[in-house]
Structure formats: C-alpha cells, structure tokens
C-alpha cells in the first residue's frame, strides 16, 4: 500500500494538470459569458464530488447505526470532512462566477441558500465530532448526518422544480451542452474524484492511526501506577 499511494498521487497530479489544460485551452469559449464561463469546469465537478462524498457519509452513518462498525464511523467522518472542503470550493467559486455574470456576488436564491445550509449542516457535524467528548458522539453524529443528507437531493433538484437565479441543469432536465464542453467537464470531474479519493484515503489512514494511539495512551494511563499516571496525562495535555 505504501508503494501504491505515491504512484496514484503522481497519476492524479498528472490527470489534474491535464484537466486544467483542457479547461483553459481546449474547451471552447462560451459566446455570452466569455472566458469566465470556464469556472464551470471547477465549480460543477466540485459540487458533484461534494454530493457523492455526502452520499457516502449518509450510507456509512446508516451502516454505523445498524452495526456500530468503527470502520463505518471513520468513513463517515472522513467523507464529511473532505465533502466540506469541496462544498467550500463550490461556495467560493460560485460568487466569483456570479459577480461578472449576474452583477452580484450573492443572492438568497433557493439553490444558493440550500447549498449554504448544506455546508453549515456538515460544518456543525464536524464541530460536534471535534469538540464533544461523550461516548455517544459517533451515534449523535450519525443521526445528524442522516438529517443532513436530506438536503443533498433538495440542493440537486432545486433548479429542476423551482425557478431560480441559478442556471438550469445542463445535463438532463432539458438542458444542452456542447459535446466538447461536456468532455472537458467529465475529465475535470474524473480528476477531482480521483483527488478526493486519494485525500479520503490519506485521511482514513491518519484517523485509524490517531485512534490506535489514543487507545494505547488510554490503556497506558490505566495500567500505570497512580503517581506516573498523573504525569502521563499532564504530558498528554501538554502535547
């Protein structure tokens, strides 16, 4: 596994570079918006990747509630964290695209508001996991994640069923996209998906290691004589 990771990292970096080249050079310039439309190749794949990660988080949370599996709990945590990063990209690139096209950075449109709510739900999920020391934290987080996941289809379908400021879907829903633009969009999505998978993998390994260290330290604190136990916990807090 240690050998496979650097190879996959190099391949992903190459794919991301190629996707960037396709987005900036190969993709045709849109007639009305001009070059600024190329933000589309980062904005949309980031949104799709975030939706997939939040969906995996939902499945892992359900599995955790049924089986109390430690692995499912870690997968839920990791996908929520990386999903928030991608959702942040969506919320940052969206206004940068909106300013020259709509003339405003932000509007309380249904799609935009629901995306912000989605981001806030998963940030609160991460805050809960980070600062709650209760043994029930994974259980509470799993329940919160299931409620949070309900917002994902609402965000996705909001532009299908309601008239919004946000553009209508270009794939499905009666929209049209130039085949070359679609090709570039899919390459960028593939590149960001590979990148997300790689980051999730690293974060998963880090979390497993962190839990092992925490368990070992807790066990050591229990087994040590009383005097040195205090010293261990002091060292632990200082670290």
């Amino acid at each position: 596994m240690k050998r496979v990771f650097p190879i996959l990292a190099v391949l992903t970096a190459a794919l991301l570079s190629y996707a960037l080249y396709e987005a900036l050079v190969v993709a045709p310039t849109e007639l009305t918006m001009g070059d600024v439309q190329r933000i589309f190749y980062y904005h949309v794949p980031s949104a799709w990747t975030a939706f997939i990660l939040f969906s995996i988080n939902f499945v892992a949370s359900v599995v955790y509630l049924i089986r109390r599996s430690n692995k499912a709990d870690i997968v839920a945590l990791v996908t929520a964290e990386v999903g928030v990063v991608f959702c942040t990209v969506v919320l940052v690139t969206g206004p940068i695209w909106a300013r020259p096209v709509w003339g405003i950075w932000w509007t309380w449109d249904l799609r935009l508001t629901l995306t912000l709510v989605l981001w806030l739900i998963y940030v609160s999920y991460l805050v809960l996991r980070r600062f709650s020391s209760s043994g029930q934290t994974p259980l509470l987080a799993a329940v919160l994640a299931i409620f949070g996941a309900l917002d994902v289809p609402l965000v996705y379908f909001s532009i299908w069923f309601f008239r919004t400021q946000h553009p209508q879907p270009v794939i499905g829903g009666g929209g049209f996209i130039d085949p070359l633009m679609l090709h570039v969009l899919l390459i960028n999505w593939l590149a960001f998906s590979c990148f997300a998978a790689l980051v999730c993998w690293s974060r998963y390994r880090l979390e497993v290691l962190q839990r092992e260290v925490d368990e070992t330290l807790a066990l050591e604190a229990l087994l040590e004589p009383r005097g040195s136990q205090t010293r261990t916990s002091q060292t632990w807090r200082a670290g």
Binding site: I39, T88, I96, R99, S202, R203, L206, Q210, E220, T235
Partner: protein, 42 residues
C-alpha cells in the same frame, strides 16, 4: 479573465490549506508516537 484566475487560485488555495492541516496532524501524531516509544524504552 481575472475572475477566472481568482476562482482557480481560490480552489487550489482551499485544497492546499486542507492538505496542510492533514500534514500538520500527521506530524503531530508522529511526534506523539515517538514520544510514546521513548517513554516505553525508558
């Protein structure tokens, strides 16, 4: 064109910042392990 570059730079700034936090956590964990091993040897 500046909006386009701003969006691309912002995207990578967010990803690099997150990767930086992962690296920092990894280094802290490695130090904890080294400290623990040192205590074990003593």
């Amino acid at each position: 064109m500046s909006y386009l570059y701003a969006a691309y730079i912002a995207t990578w700034a967010i990803h690099v910042a997150y990767l930086g936090t992962l690296l920092r956590r990894y280094i802290r964990l490695r130090n904890e392990i080294a400290e623990f091993k040192g205590r074990e040897e003593r």
